[in-house]
Amino acid sequence: MNTALTWADHRIVDREDGAVVYGVEDVSLFSLDREARDVLARWRLVEPLVVENTPEPDRSVLEDFRTARLLVPAGTTSRVPRVEPGTVPLSTLVLEVAQACNLRCTYCYADGGTYGGPTRLLSPETARRAARFLVDASGDLPEVTLVLFGGEPLLNLPAIRAAVDEAEARATDAGKTVRFSLTTNGTLLSRENVAFLREHRVSVSVSLDGPPAIHDANRPGPDGRGSYSRAVAGLALLLDGAPGPVAARVTLPPAQWDRVPEVFDHLAGLGVHEVGIAPASPTTPDLLPTPQQEDRLLAGFSEMARRFCAAARAGQVLPFSNLLDLLARIHVGATRVAPCGAGLGYLAADTEGRLFLCHRLVGNDGFHAGDVGQGARPDRIRTCLAALAAPRKETCTACWARSLCRGGCHYDNHQRENVLGLSPGGNCGFIRRWIQLGLEVYGDLQREETRWLLSRLGTRAAC
């Protein structure tokens, strides 16, 4: 069958002994030995290519490229499957337990925890309604997740207790299990509420930004005093006999992007089990990074990647969430159909029980999509997602990182494009460099002495 073939969209990461090739459409990774790398170089620009008409030994290598679907029949096109809102069962609901906070973090996207408007707390009745909505909207899913969020959720223990109690009862009735997670600034943790969180197996992330100078500058209280010592005291209660992992969630504004390794080291030194570092969202123009700041962040992440590989060779996992999550996605090779689950299995409810696409878009009327009493509105979700995706359609189609990215954070994009008036794609360069780093690290981990880590990544991806 002398089929005319073309090269599938791919990206080459050259290495000393050959190369790693990334199949853009499939999220597939293949290593090439030197011979295959040479064959690729010789034939890469020949299109259409009829393998049967090529001379040996190149021909059998080209057959291998065909098997790997890096050579595909000419005219092969691929379409991203469309996921229709309303057809995806709800798996995660983020509950704004308190639209209030006892801190005033400098980079807060939620306007001091309130998401705009006055301070308010979720009532226990609405908490129960929201918990029932989650279980009832979860279709055939055997497991659902309720995220207790804010503001600072521990400001409203009655609603937390009501939500947890109702979700457990409703899930038991429906033959499902419910998992809880909570993100806190740590300052209000006490022996009592830690005992409650353990009793209900709530997994906890504590927002911590690193050494006292950085943390206190970023996360002061209303009086301007830093919150480091109170947060770390709360963390100690959580870590004391912790039944499960405790994660630290770091947010850094661009001015601190050169401090990634020291932030990580400090938090790992405090005994947290995992550290995730998020660049602050550009809620205001002064939080927009310069290219130099992006370079520094990448340099910090690269340094973490180098240390991750060194730790892996010594039989250890460096608990840097960002890289672990990226590597897990690369390991499985699942292609995304949307950048995240917002509106597609994932929703957030505010203190009034109004539903929004995601926790970050809470309070923004443009992304209001139903309420916990009457359910989500697929028509609204569809309109919102289409509007969010529209400005990136063409650039995403041509981008090699598309199958792992699908457009980036809705909130960040909305903020950059609709609020700050920037042109689309401002974050793309950074995302591509980060994914490229992940591909390089994954290629590196293929050595004999680090291969044990790969199956662990598979386990993580399944979580």
Binding site: S31, L32, D64, Y442
Partner: protein, 110 residues
């Protein structure tokens, strides 16, 4: 695949893609290049794909299975799925099995 592996699957997706191709190159051939024509080979029993309808009637050039469905829709024996190949491998299918939905167990194919 060549005997000497010059290309190695690294991640799980790549392994899945290689597994898809296992044996493919030995057993499956595209039988038809260019415009629709006559069948040029045999097919597995439940393969809906390769052989074309040899009758000079509608739907010209469609695969046998879809041609069967097309005509089957006219009667009371419509089978909205892949059907046994009644032209080559199971010519007596309609006798064994006048109503596919009811009588499919009587068909003695593997």
């Amino acid at each position: 695949m060549s005997n000497k592996k010059t290309i190695q699957a690294l991640n799980e997706k790549a392994k899945a893609i290689e597994a898809l191709a296992d044996g493919e190159t030995e057993t499956v051939r595209a039988l038809q290049d260019g415009p629709p024509g006559m069948p040029a080979g045999c097919t597995t029993v439940f393969d809906t794909g390769w052989e074309t309808n040899p009758r000079p009637t509608y739907p010209v050039g469609n695969c046998q299975a879809s041609a069967r469905d097309f005509h089957g829709c006219a009667g009371d024996c419509w089978w909205p799925a892949q059907t046994p190949d009644g032209l080559t491998n199971h010519p007596d299918m309609d006798q064994q099995c006048p109503n596919v939905a009811r009588d499919w167990r009587k068909m003695k194919y593997d």
